[in-house]
């Protein structure tokens, strides 16, 4: 019922008509006002982007002519302290802001001068003397000396620094001294061939000695942070950005970009969108752009997709029988895998080419030796006779020879136990799942059962030794010591199921002897030969089957970055290098820099004020219209 017909108040006919019409108008007006307001707000806020906004947006260099290079990254900074940081983003920032004793050559990764200009061991191999660069100074103007390096190393060697990420470099150090500003002396307990590859940022003693507890100091409150690298850390906002400015006094020469910004994009698709728009200059793959993302960018103007040999390997590891340091066995690995022939049969039935083509869609290199081929000095390949190439027939013969005959389509051992394996898979890694499907098919044809066990955190069954096989992978450093060391006996856990440094419970006297030899070998060629022998042993053992070396796939805007150095320089990656070459060497394209997606302050303020005034006015009118004379009776 229409109550308005019952008002019974006297008024002129026109007024009555108006009154009758009013509600209908009033019904529409708030809706219209709201819709108009929303549209206006959206449009005005949109106007906060650059006026006459082109798409993709390419902001000009700022008024002061500052050239900014913005890098989209997915990781969060865990800490800006070199004594705490572990993540790639954080350690990459330290590479840019502090000097290390040595650097790695962009061409072939060999050690080259950095904070130290030269280094030499004593005849007994137990003392290393470094000559420190005389022309390096901290960003606060003070001179950087050997005293800073000695203080840094001693701090890590102290009880306070026990748990710091770089402590593994100094566990073999006996004493570190600085007899003069340009001389650093490190005494060792036993020979250590990695002394020209100490990845430890040297910090300014005069700043850091004032820190009460380095285990709790994150170096993220006072800016600019005092450093002596090619860039100076100027600002940081958690999960938003890290800003650095070029160090004009850097001894090797100032970077060409004035400012370097690492901007957080937690979603890689959004980061790719930002690159297309021109908001960022570079997108780092985490660890690589997906094939779909890379293919989508390849057709875009002014964008270059960089594909280079990666530093990771993607492997299958077998459980060799978990045990403690004193030989106590634990876990429930399948006993059949203790037979080398069974392990080799498994790897003979893995088609690496298919994995590279189908799973990695060509963005990887077929696996062979343990060290990826980009580290040419140490990379190793099996000879044709030694190679365990895809050969199901040979695999079947090996299994027969090992006593696992096929019965009713299943391989069964002499004890009657079928060859049914479990493989640990990282639920977060689509490559694991995809390869798992292929393995089920290939090994199924051989009569081997496989259960792909995908978990968010594989570490629990792994440390407990409760697995048969596992997908495994590591990022390899220019110096291979670390990735080789994780397969030595001393890294086994002291107690069953306890976490330890071992990767996969491998413990073999011959391998350990080779490891100790290479660590004590100071001749590069002889050491490389020993490292290759270790890889050959690993390959034959069947404990680690390297299936692929995934490529680094990343992209940048050529209208913002004219040129940039990859590592290795012939073909390699840009983000996460072992040196500072990429960002230090990057040359801006003329007149362009990455946009911040914003606009000039004046325009922003003007438009915002207009929006506020309009919104306020609209609200007033709406309220005013609601309150008619009739309502106010």
């Amino acid at each position: 019922m229409d109550t308005k017909d019952q008002h019974g108040r006297t008024r002129s006919s026109s007024a009555a008509r108006a009154a009758a019409a009013a509600p209908a108008r009033k019904r529409r007006r708030p809706r219209l006002l709201l819709a108009a307001g929303a549209a206006a707000a959206f449009t005005l806020t949109a106007g906060l982007a650059t006026p006459l906004n082109p798409a993709p947006q390419q902001a000009e260099a700022k008024d002061d002519g500052k050239k900014t290079l913005t890098v989209a990254v997915a990781q969060s900074v865990d800490s800006l302290s070199p004594f705490i940081a572990q993540r790639l983003l954080s350690t990459s920032i330290h590479r840019l802001t502090y000097e290390y004793l040595t650097n790695y050559d962009a061409k072939d990764n060999h050690s080259i001068p950095a904070f130290a200009t030269k280094w030499e061991p004593s005849a007994d191999k137990l003392t290393w003397t470094y000559t420190i660069r005389p022309n390096s100074k901290w960003s606060d103007g003070k001179k950087a000396t050997a005293e800073d390096a000695a203080w840094t190393f001693n701090k890590i060697m102290s009880k306070e620094g026990t748990a710091t990420p770089n402590s593994n470099f100094v566990t073999n150090f006996k004493k570190v001294t600085a007899p003069s500003p340009t001389k650093l002396v490190v005494e060792l307990k036993k020979p250590q061939s990695t002394m020209a590859a100490l990845d430890i940022p040297i910090v300014p003693k005069h700043v850091w000695e004032k820190v009460d507890d380095i285990s709790k100091f994150n170096n993220d409150k006072d800016f600019p942070v005092v450093g002596n690298g090619p860039f100076i850390l100027t600002d940081f906002k958690v999960d938003q950005y890290v800003k650095l400015k070029a160090n004009k006094d850097f001894w090797r020469g100032a970077p060409k970009f004035d400012e370097l910004v690492f901007k957080t994009y937690k979603d890689q698709d959004a980061a790719v969108a930002a690159l297309k728009k021109g908001e960022v200059s570079f997108v780092a793959g985490q660890p690589a752009l997906t094939p779909a993302q890379a293919n989508g960018l390849k057709g875009e103007p002014d964008i270059k997709v960089n594909e280079g040999p990666g530093r990771r390997f993607f492997a299958l590891a077998t459980n060799p029988g978990a045990r403690t340091l004193d030989g106590k066995k634990f876990g429930d690995g399948h006993p059949a895998l203790l037979d080398k022939r069974v392990r080799q049969a498994l790897f003979l039935s893995v088609d690496r080419k298919t994995i590279v083509d189908k799973v990695f869609q060509g963005n990887a290199v077929e696996g062979a030796g343990y060290i990826p081929p980009r580290f040419s000095e140490y990379a190793w390949k099996p000879s044709p006779d030694q190679e365990l190439r895809y050969d199901p027939k040979r695999a079947a013969a090996l299994l027969d020879e090992a006593g696992y005959k096929k019965k009713g389509g299943k391989r069964v051992g002499k004890d009657g136990r079928p060859l049914d394996f479990r493989i640990l898979c990282h639920a977060t890694d689509p490559n694991d799942k995809a390869v798992g499907k292929y393995l089920k098919e290939w090994w199924g044809d051989l009569g081997i059962g496989l259960k792909v066990n995908c978990l968010d955190d594989v570490s629990v069954p792994w440390y407990a030794g409760e697995y048969d096989l596992a997908f495994d992978g590591w990022s390899v450093n220019p110096d291979p010591d670390f990735v080789l060391g994780i397969h030595t006996c001393p890294t086994l856990p002291e107690k069953a199921k306890e976490s330890a440094a071992t990767d996969n419970f491998i413990c073999d006297k011959k391998f350990d002897q080779l490891y100790d030899k290479q660590l004590a070998e100071y001749d590069p060629d002889k050491r490389a030969a020993l490292v290759k022998q270790m890889q050959s042993w690993l390959y034959d053992s069947g404990y680690m089957n390297v299936m692929a070396y995934p490529n680094a796939v990343e992209a940048y805007r050529t209208d913002q970055i004219k040129s940039i150095t990859t590592m290795p320089s012939a073909a390699g990656n840009i983000y996460g290098q072992d040196g500072y070459w990429s960002w230090w060497s990057a040359v801006p394209a003329s007149g362009k820099s990455s946009s911040d997606g914003g606009s000039s302050t004046g325009v922003i303020i003007g438009i915002a004020v207009a929006a506020v005034v309009l919104a306020g006015g609209g609200a007033l009118i709406a309220l005013r219209r609601r309150s008619t004379a009739e309502d106010r009776e």
């Binding site: 705490i84 629990v460 997606g597």
Partner: protein, 366 residues
């Protein structure tokens, strides 16, 4: 109270308004004008409030216990996670376990944890080496800006559209808005967010990119320009959250108003000759708001938890993303702290809703 119940208080108020017709003053059906509980019932009300507050405290203690023990069931060795796969000696591992108190028996860890929480100390994050409280307060502001703004907008839009659709029940507008709201409610928020980024950030065809692709600020602004810059970055994530969030309020409001629409007190109001929109705004809506108020407080409690997917898509530095990072390690102190904060916010908001509800509906708590 269910939406189907009529509100006697509102009927009484409508009668009161009839006596007061000359003034044209609106009815005050639920005693919202600061009258509070009637004097005779103050003691009963206070007893009711005390009961609710006691329940809230017990719930918070239960959350404390649950957060401590539940997250110890998460597989993984925190110390091993902290070392990030580095080669570390047993001595180093032991030192780290001692540093974080992980070498103590579980009961000792629990009593220490409870004692520390009472002083506002949630421990130190394993991965960030920063006090948990500092990490939470850092991310709380951005989250409240984002989800708080979205909350206000979707609540207002939901109430407004819910009212309109119910009042014109069965018409095209009702079907259209209800259908649209349900469709948007069903859309995955991250997908909608990406769609908005592609359309309004990058630009499609002749439509230029208008908004930033992510983040909370450009990093170059200060003062008022900074506020505007943040607002500019907020548009798309807020639109995403509002689009997927307003349906709930709309449907509750619509349903409860439909229940009120046949009530006698509305007939009385119309019989007095009041205009249709006055009947709606001043008589029907205040009573229909009761279930919506409950929903508003429940939603308000979840505002603190942020929006993991939307925060991720738009790289918003809030608590949702922080919680995800904490779980992925697992960073026990940070997970526990966040869980406690989230749960406490929900408990507190529910308690507030319980406490004010008798003021809105005199039958509650009597």
């Amino acid at each position: 109270m269910t939406g189907g119940e009529r509100n006697p208080a509102a009927i009484l108020a409508a009668e009161a308004e009839a006596k007061d017709a000359a003034s044209g003053g609106p009815a005050d059906p639920a005693g919202l004008r600061g009258r509070g509980p009637r004097a005779g019932n103050t003691a009963a009300y206070l007893q009711y409030v005390a009961g609710k507050l006691g329940g809230a405290l017990i719930s918070m203690f239960a959350v404390l216990v649950t957060s401590f023990f539940l997250f110890r069931l998460i597989p993984g060795d925190p110390v091993k996670q902290m070392t990030g796969g580095r080669r570390v000696s047993s001595e180093q591992l032991e030192a780290m376990r001692a540093e974080f108190g992980l070498d103590q028996p579980v009961w000792k860890q629990f009593t220490d944890y409870c004692g520390n929480v009472l002083t506002g100390d949630f421990g130190t994050s394993y991965q960030f080496h920063t006090p948990v409280l500092e990490k939470i307060t850092d991310a709380l502001g951005p989250t409240l800006w984002l989800t708080g703004t979205a909350y206000v907008l979707y609540t207002l839009i939901g109430i407004w559209l819910g009212t309109r659709t119910a009042w014109r029940h069965g018409r095209f507008g009702d079907r259209f808005h209800t259908g649209l709201a349900l469709t948007l409610y069903s859309v995955p928020s991250f997908w909608l967010g990406l769609l908005l980024i592609i359309t309004f950030s990058v630009g499609v065809g002749p439509l230029p990119g208008m908004f930033p692709t992510g983040g909370m600020e450009s990093g170059d602004e200060s003062g008022f320009a900074y506020v505007v810059d943040v607002a500019h970055h907020m548009v798309l994530p807020v639109v995403t959250l509002v689009a997927v969030g307003y349906a709930q309020t709309l449907l509750v409001m619509r349903s409860s108003l439909l229940d009120e629409m046949g009530s006698d007190y509305l007939t009385t109001a119309r019989a007095k000759g009041l205009r249709d929109d006055l009947v709606r705004r001043r008589h029907a809506v205040p009573n229909a708001l009761l279930p919506t108020v409950t929903l508003m407080f429940v939603n308000l409690g979840t505002v603190v938890a942020g929006a993991i997917l939307v925060e991720t898509v738009f790289s918003w530095p809030g608590l949702g993303g922080l919680f995800y990072q904490a779980l992925s390690v697992p960073d026990l102190p940070l997970v526990q702290g966040l869980f406690f904060v989230f749960a406490t916010a929900v408990i507190l908001m529910n308690t507030v809703a319980d406490v004010i509800y008798p003021l809105l509906d005199p039958r509650v708590g009597r």
